[in-house]
C-alpha cells in the first residue's frame, strides 16, 4: 500500500491519493465503532496516519517517500529490539529465581545484552543519520511531534 501510495503522490495524483487515504481512515474509524480492530489492523491504521503526518510535514514527495521507508525500517528494528529486551528481562528473571545461579551467569547475560545494545545503536544511528539527510531543521523539529501510537504503546510497556 505504501509504495502505491507513494507512486500516486509522485505521479501528481495527490488529490486522489488524499481521497484514498481519507477513505481508508474513515473506513477504519467506522469499523472500529462496530468491531474491535485486530492488532494488525490497528498497527496498519497507525502507520497510515503516521505516513500522512510525514507527508504533511515534508511536502517534497521524493523525500517524504524516503522518510516513510526509513520509518518502516525503524519500526522493524524497534520490534526486534522490543522482543530482545523482553527476552533479556525474562532471562534475568529466570536467573533471579534460580537459587544456584552464579555471578558468572549474570555477567555472561550482561555481556550478551551489551552486544545487543551496541548492534541496536549502530543500526538506529544509521537510520537516524539517513533521516537527517532527507530533512531540514524545521522538518526535523516538526517530525518530533508526530506519533506512531502502536510503538508508543510498546515503549510504555517497556518503561512501566
Amino acid at each position: 500500500m505504501t509504495s502505491s501510495f507513494g507512486k500516486l503522490i509522485s505521479s501528481g495524483r495527490w488529490p486522489a491519493a488524499m481521497m484514498a487515504l481519507m477513505l481508508a481512515l474513515s473506513t477504519a474509524v467506522g469499523c472500529s465503532s462496530k468491531h474491535e480492530l485486530t492488532p494488525e489492523q490497528r498497527a496498519q491504521a497507525d502507520m497510515t496516519a503516521y505516513e500522512a503526518d510525514i507527508r504533511k510535514i515534508i511536502p517534497d514527495p521524493a523525500r517524504a517517500d524516503q522518510l516513510v521507508a526509513l520509518t518502516k525500517e525503524f519500526q522493524q528494528l524497534a520490534n526486534e529490539s522490543i522482543a530482545a529486551i523482553k527476552s533479556y528481562r525474562a532471562k534475568v528473571a529466570a536467573l533471579n529465581s534460580n537459587y544456584d545461579a552464579t555471578r558468572q551467569d549474570y555477567e555472561t547475560l550482561f555481556s550478551a545484552q551489551d552486544a545487543s545494545r551496541e548492534a541496536f545503536i549502530k543500526k538506529a544511528g544509521a537510520i537516524r543519520e539517513r533521516m537527517a539527510v532527507f530533512t531540514t531543521d524545521s522538518e526535523w523539529e516538526a517530525l518530533k511531534k508526530a506519533r506512531l501510537r502502536a510503538l508508543d504503546a510498546d515503549l510504555q510497556e517497556l518503561l512501566s
Binding site: F74, R89, N96, S97, Y106, I121, A124, L155
Partner: protein
C-alpha cells in the same frame, strides 16, 4: 515518533541491566513478608531489599544528568552517531556499576535465605504468571 521513540529505545537499552534487576522489588518485599516464616531471616532479607531499592533510586537520580546530556545531543538533527555513542557512555557505565552493586546485594540476600525460602520469594516466571492469574 521516530525521533522520540529512538531516544526512548536508547534510554531503555542504556538502563537495561539495573532495571531488569530491580523490576520486582516491591513484589519481592511483599513475598518476604508473607512467606519467610523465620523472623531473623525475614528482617535481614527486608533490610537488603530496602538497600536494593535505595540503590535503584540513587542510580535513577545519577542517571538523570546523563539523560539530559544525551537528550541535548539527540535534539540536533546533524549529530553524528559517534557523538551519540560518546554521550551515552556515562549512562552505560553507570548502569553497569549499579548492576554490580545490585548483584552484590542479590548474593547477600541469598546468604540469608534458605533454598526453600528463595523459591517462595522468587517464584519461577511461569509459576509467577499462574499465581498472578489466580489472584486476579
Amino acid at each position: 515518533m521516530l525521533i522520540a521513540a529512538l531516544t526512548a529505545f536508547l534510554l531503555i537499552h542504556f538502563g537495561s541491566h539495573s532495571s531488569a534487576l530491580t523490576s520486582q522489588l516491591d513484589q519481592t518485599a511483599a513475598l518476604i513478608q508473607k512467606d519467610v516464616a523465620d523472623e531473623a531471616h525475614r528482617k535481614q532479607a527486608l533490610v537488603i531489599v530496602d538497600q536494593m531499592k535505595a540503590e535503584a533510586q540513587a542510580a535513577a537520580k545519577q542517571r538523570q544528568k546523563s539523560v539530559d546530556a544525551l537528550n541535548s545531543v539527540l535534539a540536533k538533527r546533524t549529530t553524528p552517531v559517534s557523538d551519540i555513542e560518546r554521550a551515552a557512555q556515562p549512562l552505560v557505565a553507570d548502569d553497569r556499576a549499579s548492576a554490580e552493586k545490585l548483584l552484590d546485594l542479590r548474593f547477600q540476600l541469598k546468604s540469608v535465605l534458605t533454598p526453600d525460602e528463595w523459591k517462595m520469594v522468587f517464584p519461577a516466571p511461569a509459576a509467577e504468571a499462574v499465581s498472578k492469574k489466580r489472584s486476579a
